[in-house]
């Protein structure tokens, strides 16, 4: 079905995603079977859904990986219990996208102490001893990229009106993104005039944007943190018949890339925040558990931290990125 993530559409030999370099085919050779426990927050928005699906798909591609997926939850208490269960079960590795990095640090440390390597994805633990390896998106960098892009476009207009549509405001990652955005805008003398918070969902995106457009009759640029809520944001913009501004997205869904490509909306660019992180996490966990290394690296083991880059996708370079866009 076309709903498969673009990343997985490639042939079997091109398993490794682009961030890891063209994967060593050697590493794809089946090794001893490893059991990987995977726990992530509830799939209550598109990106998180894509994360979980991508992880499941990645594991399905290896016959030597048995993936145990815990029910997605936004309750750290439950997530801790899930990790405890994985520890008790003696899985070979754990891939953990914590709802809250700090809150899961203790239990992850426990797992490490029990000899189970933990791969931390997306939201960072508060202690370096809690994970064997960390796959990080760059939330601050995402804000910076978006801000820089807007600066490039509007840098000569100090009075330009910039609006920001956040995701769930209470999440630290949202704060990181906003901070980066603010800092980058400050560099060119701009600031955020209107800020609203949605909930990473299409419905909330539509709602807050409809109101935002009313609150700000003239806008020059909008940064929307998340492309999934962006579906609603775009619809609200269309409903309001507004087009005097341009918009920058976030995350990099395939849908958004198509819009950028065709130029049929105000969406000019998006900042990639890869939804393949967890899939990478699974792959790293498998390698760690099998004591292998990343193919192209000279060092003999999997590195501690893999920080993903947050590039800006525009009409000029969208073709390059189409294959990592996720179907939100």
């Amino acid at each position: 079905v076309s709903n498969e993530p673009a990343e997985e559409e490639g042939s079997d030999s091109e398993e490794m995603s682009s961030e890891e370099g063209s994967g060593g085919t050697m590493n794809d050779e089946p090794g001893e079977t490893v059991t990987i426990g995977f726990s992530a927050p509830a799939a209550d928005h598109g990106w998180m859904g894509a994360i979980t699906s991508a992880a499941e798909d990645a594991a399905a591609d290896y016959e030597d990986v048995e993936l145990r997926v815990a029910e997605g939850t936004n309750d750290v208490n439950v997530q801790i219990s899930q990790i405890e269960t994985f520890i008790a079960d003696g899985v070979d590795a754990i891939v953990l996208l914590p709802f809250d990095g700090a809150a899961l640090t203790d239990v992850a440390t426990e797992a490490m102490e029990a000899g189970i390597p933990v791969v931390n994805v997306d939201r960072e633990f508060s202690s370096p001893f809690a994970a064997r390896s960390t796959v990080l998106g760059d939330n601050y960098g995402m804000g910076v990229s978006a801000g820089t892009y807007i600066c490039e476009q509007l840098g000569d207009q100090p009075d330009a009106v910039v609006a920001e549509i956040q995701g769930i405001a209470s999440l630290p990652l949202t704060q990181d993104r906003s901070q980066g955005f603010e800092d980058a805008l400050a560099d060119c003398g701009l600031d955020v005039d209107n800020q609203v918070a949605a909930e990473f969902t299409v419905q909330s995106g539509e709602q807050v944007t409809a109101n935002l457009l009313q609150a700000a009759p003239e806008i020059d640029a909008i940064w929307n943190h998340d492309d999934d809520q962006g579906v609603g944001v775009l619809q609200a913009i269309e409903n309001a018949g507004r087009d005097e501004f341009f918009m920058v997205g976030g995350a990099g869904s395939l849908d958004v890339m198509e819009h950028i490509q065709s130029g049929d909306t105000v969406l000019e660019a998006t900042v990639v925040y890869p939804s393949t992180q967890a899939a990478d996490g699974i792959k790293l966990a498998r390698l760690i558990a099998q004591e292998k290394n990343l193919g192209d690296l000279a060092s003999s083991t999997v590195p501690r931290t893999v920080q993903l880059y947050a590039p800006v996708v525009t009409a000029d370079n969208v073709d390059q990125f189409m294959d990592i866009g996720f179907r939100s």
Partner: protein, 343 residues
């Protein structure tokens, strides 16, 4: 139930001499007075909106935005009013709404709609909503499971099913006949607002002018008396939950039109907003009294509140604190209003 939930204790009142109050002198019914209090709260909110937002608040365009916002919640709130009037609750509406948007926007449904027209998508949403509601109803009425638990289970299960069907992806609506039918305006008013208006009026007639509505009140007010009067209480509850599911389906169609996307995250946490609007509107949680007009005003209050906050560009944390305080204040104001006008 605790005292504060049954404000009308059996008023020992002579059948020959009616309770003398200014409101009966004014010829107003109890429901009208309660609604007046609500209208006052809404007007106060609008005044604040006007003072702080000026023309950005007080424009036809903004009115349409607020109404559009209120529409999806509002349609479900109409169904919920019936459920709460029976003394029940339906926590699953948000999640069922999500399920209907997903089911109605699958590739298969949209492809069929290309062939047979938008009716396929709409029919799908309504049927799915109705079915979920009827399942709730069967479990509650015939399984004797408390509504809270039955519908909480449906909340969780419908969300899971929606995720399975959508494979956790957002499904974009491309079906042109659907879009042209439900998106955009009619006579300057968004079509979904028209739908809300129609559902609200139909709901009002259904509750106040039909046998169905009177039985709903009876079942909620005194289930035993209703049974003894020959009403099939269980069957009636089944219908009422079916109705709530159906309104979730209608809201699903509206949301699909408005956001152009079906997603299992649609309707997340909507249930609390809907119930809050219904209860603030004056429908009693213990059952036996429901008001559609109150519900509509309740929904408008919440939509206006969101609008005023955003127009004033208030920090979202501060918004939340203010929102909590304002809801309580509105309810207190409404009570004071009702009390003063009857003393």
């Amino acid at each position: 139930m605790s005292e504060q939930q049954t404000p009308s204790s059996p008023a020992a009142d002579n059948p020959t001499k009616h309770r003398e109050s200014s409101r009966s002198r004014l010829g107003l019914s109890g429901a009208t007075v309660r609604n007046l209090g609500l209208v006052a709260a809404l007007l106060l909110l609008c005044l604040v909106g006007f003072l702080t937002g000026g023309d950005r608040f007080a424009s036809v365009q903004n009115l349409m935005i607020v109404l559009s916002l209120a529409s999806v919640t509002g349609v479900i709130a109409i169904g919920m009013t019936f459920v709460i009037t029976t003394g029940g609750i339906d926590l699953s509406v948000g999640s069922v709404l999500g399920l209907t948007t997903v089911w109605a926007s699958t590739l298969a449904t949209q492809t069929m709609a290309d062939q047979y027209g938008w009716i396929v998508m709409v029919g799908c949403a309504l049927l799915v909503g109705l079915a979920a509601g009827l399942i709730n109803g069967v479990i509650i009425a015939y399984g004797n499971v408390v509504a809270f638990i039955a519908t909480l289970s449906m909340l969780v299960a419908a969300r899971g099913l929606a995720e399975l069907i959508a494979n956790r992806r957002t499904q974009i609506v491309n079906q042109s006949s659907f879009e042209s039918t439900f998106q955009g305006d009619l006579l300057g008013v968004p079509k979904i607002v028209w739908i809300f208006a129609i559902v609200a009026v139909a709901g009002w007639f259904l509750l106040n002018r039909t046998t169905f509505g009177r039985r709903t009140v009876a079942v909620g007010g005194n289930a035993e008396a209703a049974r003894l009067a020959g009403i099939n209480v269980k069957r009636h509850l089944l219908y009422v939950y079916g109705l709530a599911g159906l309104t979730a389906g209608v809201a699903g169609v509206m949301l699909l039109a408005r956001t152009g996307a079906g997603s299992s995250t649609n309707g997340l946490l909507l249930e609390l907003d809907v119930i809050a609007a219904v209860v603030v509107g004056g429908t009693l949680l213990v059952g036996g009294r429901g008001t559609i007009v109150g519900t509509v005003i309740g929904v408008l209050i919440f939509a206006t509140l969101t609008n005023v906050f955003i127009i004033n560009n208030i920090d979202s944390s501060v918004q939340q604190i203010a929102r909590g305080a304002i809801i309580v204040a509105a309810v207190l104001l409404q009570q004071r209003f009702a009390r003063r006008s009857t003393s």
